[in-house]
């Protein structure tokens, strides 16, 4: 087992280097530079522009900039944003919890509804319920989430006034950020009602972001349940006269969950991608919006550092899922 973990970790290192290189090259290939972009209508005289480029080291050869960057990264310094002059790492630390909080809640929503729906659909195959779940699932799976987000605001907030429009919490509350996760911070703080407020702000974006995972998880669960239900040991269990709920809930589910867990793991990457759009629509102060803005402003350090940190988190989750998978299914551990 340890060996398996180590081989997985060893694969991470070249990927890590690759991410830095790819992020670096892509960003420097984007035309325009941060100084030019900041200048606005006013513009900037060429001499001053050159002087500033020199100041930031952008006039050096690319390979030199890259190695300088890497050596800084290795010593733990991701640099400072060119726009806010704040450390990239501290901005990331401030914003990432918001993204995690949103993603985790989206996932809880997706799993919490998708899993039971999938199981029930499989248990009552070809029933109205089954067809209904599958119809909703394919709709959810096909949903352009940027549109779904707008529609959700229009319906839930503007028309029915069920949820707040955007942001993370009502501004009447002032919650000292301790962990960065507002749900936790608001529980720790003594402001009554702040938890409720944080919760209601979270619901809509979490639903929107969780829609696609929900659809996929429901489908996955259903088809893998159906497969498992057809196998001999289930038939044996049934023949033994075990209660149907026990057969489905315990025997079948355990095996059916394996592919589902993989899918959940795979979703982490695409959740961050979805978060970019969702955060933009709901003014959610997370890393997705931050990175999107950094592209527009040519904020090299933010983009490089952000992609690196985000990529690392995705990798970490993938390795974790792999290891978890190995635990659940010993066959995999041994074939690699």
């Amino acid at each position: 087992m340890l060996r398996f973990i180590f081989t997985r970790l060893a694969l991470v290192i070249p990927t890590f280097v690759g991410i830095t290189l790819l992020a670096f090259l892509l960003i420097h290939a984007v035309p325009g530079d941060p100084i030019e972009t900041l200048a606005g209508e006013r513009g900037i005289p060429e001499e001053r522009h050159q002087a500033l480029l020199h100041e930031y080291g952008f006039d050096r050869p690319l390979y030199y900039q890259y190695f300088a960057y890497i050596s800084h990264v290795l010593s733990g310094d991701l640099g400072r944003s060119l726009i806010t002059h704040e450390r990239v790492i501290s901005e990331f630390k401030q914003l990432f919890p918001a993204t995690i909080e949103l993603s985790v809640c989206a996932m809880i929503f997706a799993v919490g509804i998708g899993l039971p729906a999938g199981i029930l659909a499989a248990a009552r195959r070809n029933s109205i319920f089954d067809h209904g779940v599958m119809a909703i699932s394919v709709t959810g799976y096909s949903m352009p989430i940027f549109w779904w987000g707008l529609l959700a605001i229009l319906l839930f907030s503007n028309t029915w006034h069920l949820t707040p429009v955007s942001g993370r919490i009502d501004y009447a509350y002032f919650v000292e950020p301790k962990t960065g996760f507002l749900l936790i911070d608001s529980l720790l703080s003594d402001e009554a009602g702040s938890f409720r407020s944080a919760m209601t702000h979270l619901i809509l974006p979490a639903i929107v972001l969780g829609t696609i995972p929900l659809a996929v998880i429901a489908r996955m669960t259903r088809s893998s349940m159906l497969e498992v239900l057809g196998e001999d040991y289930i038939r044996t269990a049934r023949a033994k006269g075990l209660a149907p709920t026990l057969v489905i809930g315990v025997h079948a589910l355990r095996n059916a969950l394996i592919p589902v867990i993989t899918v959940i793991g795979l979703f982490v990457g695409s959740l961050f991608a979805g978060a970019i759009l969702t955060e933009t629509i709901f003014s959610w102060p997370g890393v997705g919006k931050w990175l999107f803005e950094a592209v527009g402003r040519r904020d090299y350090p933010v983009l490089q550092g952000g992609v690196l940190l985000l990529g690392t988190s995705v990798m970490a989750v993938n390795v974790f899922v792999d290891v978890l998978y190995g635990f659940i299914n010993p066959r995999i551990r041994h074939t690699r």
Binding site: A135, L154, G288, L291
Partner: protein, 299 residues
């Protein structure tokens, strides 16, 4: 909406593979509905000029934000209303099918062809080349797809062609992975060894011997990729990086009219609905294809 039905369990071996395929496919109501919808969309795209009386780009002064005909102030001249600068929504939506299909097919072709080539090379070459290619794909997968697409469009400049290219690059890893994986399984089979001993060249081996046997999963991925491509390209349009004016592309239409969301529901709702329907049709058909081509392939 028609629910997707499961294909029947294995029937007795039918005479012809195509007929067998059609048998399974037509059992799946959802898939058939998807196919029919796609046919309609295709027809709309082909006969867009005939279907819509108005031009999609002509600006009607003083006809800004007309509602659809069944609402107060609507007129049959603009059956689905007009956009903020007085262009016929119906015509724009109908013409939008062209761009949607164009984006889908271009993205799929580009990423399919490039993905097959890279996957074949990786599968055949093994060693350093394989590691390099597969690592690169892993790296691309760790960067959130839409962010990668945004950066690529930032490099190339906004526009329909560049947006399609960006989405193709983002979709690439899927095809490479699938091709390589199937190539590896196929290479171990006897017919390949037989071909090798017969002295077939590597290129012949790649494209004529192995590739045809890898096609089934690729076709399925391509159909499903169609829908992803349409959504991703529309998302770029939504972020203002896709098709440029006055192209009636749905994502761009959404982005352009977003500010009127509260006042004129149709300018935001309809293009989104169009995207949803198209994407759903491709997903339904993709599911049907997958089940029909290889019931075991269900992920």
């Amino acid at each position: 909406m028609v629910a997707q039905a499961e294909p029947l369990t294995q029937a007795a071996a039918p005479p012809h593979p195509l007929r067998e395929f059609w048998y399974y496919f037509s059992q799946n109501l959802g898939a058939v509905a998807g196919l029919v919808t796609i046919m309609i969309i295709l027809l709309l795209a082909l006969f867009a000029n005939q279907v819509s009386a108005q031009s999609p780009i002509e600006i009607h002064d003083g006809q800004f934000l007309r509602p659809p005909f069944w609402e107060d102030g609507g007129t049959l001249a603009f059956p689905l209303g007009t956009d903020p600068i007085g262009r016929d929504m119906f015509s724009r939506l109908v013409h939008g099918t062209r761009y949607s299909l164009l984006m889908g097919s271009m993205v799929v072709s580009i990423s399919l062809i490039a993905g097959i080539c890279l996957g074949l090379v990786a599968g055949f070459a093994r060693g350093v080349v394989e590691i390099m290619i597969m690592r690169l794909m892993d790296i691309m997968l760790t960067i959130p797809g839409i962010l990668l697409a945004i950066v690529i469009v930032a490099i190339l400049g906004p526009g329909l062609a560049n947006a399609m290219l960006a989405v193709s690059v983002v979709a690439l890893p899927q095809y490479v992975r699938i091709t390589r994986a199937t190539v590896l399984t196929e290479l171990a089979k006897e017919y390949v060894t037989a071909s090798k001993t017969n002295g077939a060249s590597v290129v012949r081996l790649m494209f004529l011997t192995v590739l045809p046997n890898c096609l089934a999963p690729l076709i399925v991925q391509a159909t499903l990729g169609f829908s992803t491509a349409i959504i991703d390209a529309a998302a770029l349009g939504f972020l203002g990086l896709g098709a440029q004016p006055p192209t009636p592309e749905w994502g761009t239409m959404l982005a352009d009219t977003r500010e009127f969301m509260q006042r004129a529901w149709w300018v935001v709702t309809l293009p989104g609905l169009a995207i949803l329907i198209t994407v759903m049709a491709f997903n339904l058909m993709g599911d049907g294809l997958r089940d029909a081509l290889d019931p075991k392939l269900k992920r």
